[in-house]
């Protein structure tokens, strides 16, 4: 298994990704928001899941920045603060220096309380997140003037590795608003383990679902195509090809696992036949 993962990494093996309808749906949901929309980005994951979720968090941040949305970053995971800081540095500060902190984006950091924070944010967002990650009161942050509750966001973009995460956001914040005139749209990116648990909410309560590194690779391909459409001929930085790159080792590892299962069964059936014949 070590070799199956290491060799494609060392050889930089990349395989083409053809975006599926689900990935396109997630992309269109975000892409079709009105100009200047306010999007809430909840990055509920930690370093353990970063290899799987990091690339999709980058793509989603890049897509929102590219479209010029106002971005509000939050996390309900203690280590999520670093995830937010990393993605802001990697995407916004590096490639969108024209975006101003406090006007175009704000990092509101971590709050403890899981679902309680979600329900609180639903009724009073500023009381739930009273300061940004630097300790600046939200009253002094211009883009917070427009926010009272989660209803003031056009879309929730949640990247989650478990509890609390995408499922809870859908259950406690998105679903109750589903019947309103301007329902909160929601796109969730999650780990492979979580994907089957979120499928029951798609597409009724969830407008987009990006499942694991495969979904991230498809979404990344779509965002890169959009970037190419906006600035033709511009080279794609390596950091925006991470998900596609990580699919290489995943493919070889999956093929190895299938081979091991087949081999294990051959040995099992041969052994059983011999046992029966004896």
């Amino acid at each position: 298994m070590g070799l199956a993962v290491a060799v494609p990494i060392l050889l930089q093996s990349r395989f083409p990704e053809k975006p599926t309808a689900i990935a396109k749906h997630a992309f269109d949901t975000i892409n079709d928001l009105p100009d200047g929309s306010r999007v809430l980005l909840a990055f509920d994951f930690d370093p353990a899941s970063e290899p799987e979720l990091g690339p999709m968090a980058s793509s989603l941040t890049r897509h929102a920045a590219m479209r010029g949305y106002k971005m509000y970053f939050i996390t309900l995971w203690p280590f999520g603060t670093q995830m937010l800081t990393d993605k802001i540095r990697e995407v916004i500060l590096a490639d969108f220096p024209q975006l101003v902190e406090g006007t175009d984006w704000v990092n509101l950091g971590f709050q403890a309380g899981n679902e309680a924070i979600m329900t609180q944010a639903k009724s009073d967002f500023k009381r739930t997140f009273p300061r940004d990650v630097r300790g600046i009161a939200v009253a002094q942050i211009p883009m917070m003037d427009e926010i009272r509750t989660t209803r003031d966001f056009a879309c929730l973009i949640a990247v989650s590795a478990g509890y609390p995460g995408g499922k809870e956001w859908v259950q406690y914040v998105v679903t109750p608003e589903r019947g309103s005139a301007t329902p909160l749209k929601a796109v969730v990116g999650c780990t492979g383990v979580q994907t089957p648990q979120l499928f029951p909410y798609y597409p009724g309560q969830l407008d987009g679902l990006i499942g694991a590194i495969k979904g991230a690779a498809e979404y990344e391909t779509l965002v890169n195509a959009e970037a190419e459409r906006r600035t033709p001929g511009a080279p794609v930085p390596a950091k925006y090809l991470e998900a596609v790159r990580r699919m290489g080792p995943q493919m070889v590892a999956h093929v190895l696992m299938v081979s091991l299962i087949v081999l294990g069964n051959v040995i099992y059936f041969v052994g059983r036949r011999r046992g029966v014949n004896a």
């Binding site: 370093p47 670093q82 309380g113 990650v133 699919m247 995943q250 099992y268």
Partner: protein, 231 residues
């Protein structure tokens, strides 16, 4: 009294939150309850930290097996706490570049950031990556088509494993358009959207009913197991 007060707190808080869904004026009370919950959740982190310290200090003082690991745990715990609280080596924030300590505790370049970047992040990622070896080992030893159910599970695993990578495209991408639904990448999505969704919805509904019943038992004081066994 030690059991009666928590019972009443649980009942009042729980019924307030339920009532707020049906009686709009109760929303304010519900917000207060959830706010109190958030405060408790924050305090729980402090209690958790104190509990870790207590457990490892007692292990250390009693020289129980593995006490050496407790020293490492306590050292790392204390170092991280001190470094974070005192904002060790944190550069000034961009809004106040002339003021020391104006940067965030997790500002890049600070000691806490360094611990996160070069210790916590690689360690947790490495531990998670070890799963690949366990899965490979389990795939060889445990997945056996011993009966029809196991064979179905194996078949589904094959489709999902191959359909979620480019291998699916290489193997079945040549299927004509009329049967494109049988291409592994499409078939894996079909399995997830139909069979998986049906099964998961049944589980979700079952869990929801169970949670509702258990919650009512707790709020009405019938189930008191969460209070512990002592007086």
């Amino acid at each position: 009294m030690k059991r009666l007060i928590p019972l009443w707190i649980a009942a009042i808080a729980g019924f307030t939150v339920i009532a707020s869904n049906f009686i709009p004026p109760a929303m304010g009370m519900s917000d207060l309850v959830t706010e109190m919950f958030s405060v408790l959740a924050a305090v729980a982190y402090v209690l958790g930290a104190a509990s870790i310290a207590k457990v490892h200090l007692s292990k250390l003082s009693a020289r129980r097996p593995g006490w050496g690991y407790s020293i490492v745990t306590l050292f790392c715990f204390t170092a991280t706490l001190v470094v974070g609280l005192l904002k060790v080596a944190v550069p000034p924030g961009p809004r106040s570049p002339d003021l020391a300590f104006s940067g965030s505790y997790s500002e890049p370049g600070g000691a806490l950031w360094w611990i996160y970047e070069y210790a916590i992040s690689p360690i947790t990622a490495t531990l998670f990556a070890l799963l690949a070896f366990y899965v490979a080992s389990a795939a060889f030893r445990a997945f056996r088509a011993k009966n029809l159910e196991a064979a179905l599970l194996l078949g589904t695993a094959f489709i999902i494993l191959l359909g979620r990578t480019a291998a699916g495209g290489y193997l079945t991408g040549w299927f004509p358009e009329e049967i494109s639904g049988l291409r592994l990448e499409n078939f894996s999505i079909y399995i997830m959207q139909v069979f998986n969704t049906a099964g998961n919805r049944a589980i979700i509904i079952g869990i929801a009913l169970g949670v509702a019943a258990t919650s009512l038992r707790i709020l009405l004081g019938i189930d008191r197991s969460y209070l512990g066994s002592g007086d």
